[in-house]
Amino acid sequence: MSSATGGGGLADRRRRSPTHARATNGAGLRVRPDLAAPLDAYRAALRDGPLDDGLLDRCEALVRCRIDRSAEAGEDGGNPRERAVLAFADQFVVDPHGIDDGMRDAVLDHCSTAELAVLVQWLALADGMARFDAVLNAATEGEA
């Protein structure tokens, strides 16, 4: 994970591309730098899992787009597997209770249980960090 501070106004963050989504985890780490190493290790462990980095990046960008517009959501998935995963990700960030057996099965039609395990942890991490940064960046901007 980048150690970039993620500064700049909301308009700047809105203009960032999906590839910059990972560089915005800065606000939280400014107040808790001791979290950087275990956070990096957790992200690395998930990236070492069975889901490919490209799909993980797209999911994270989607989460960032929904929460604070710091990334572009990108196009809908290009194949049934991507579409199922991205639909799952979209519902996860909007309201995880809206993920029913049918939506879960749609993912498992194309992914293994291990891939689903990585997906839900990755989404939880991205969602948490995006909300973390949204709150702390907003507070920082209010002080400026």
């Binding site: 275990p38 290790a41 462990a45 998930l46 057996d101 498992l108 039609d109 249980t113 942890q121």
Partner: protein, 55 residues
């Protein structure tokens, strides 16, 4: 509706390395920092209740 893909056991057991890494992150968050444990636990319980989390 019955799930077409039943999942047996804890799905997080599928990736023990990731779970161990999460526990290290969570442990650091919980054990260090300036917020006292009572406040952290109160916030955790409230969040769990609001999100209907059984943990």
């Amino acid at each position: 509706m019955t799930a077409r893909h039943p999942i047996r056991g804890n799905i997080l057991d599928e990736l023990p390395e990731a779970w161990a890494a999460f526990e290290r992150l969570y442990g650091t968050l919980w054990s260090h920092g300036t917020v006292d444990h009572v406040t952290k636990e109160t916030a955790r319980l409230r969040n769990a209740r609001l999100t209907d989390c059984g943990l």
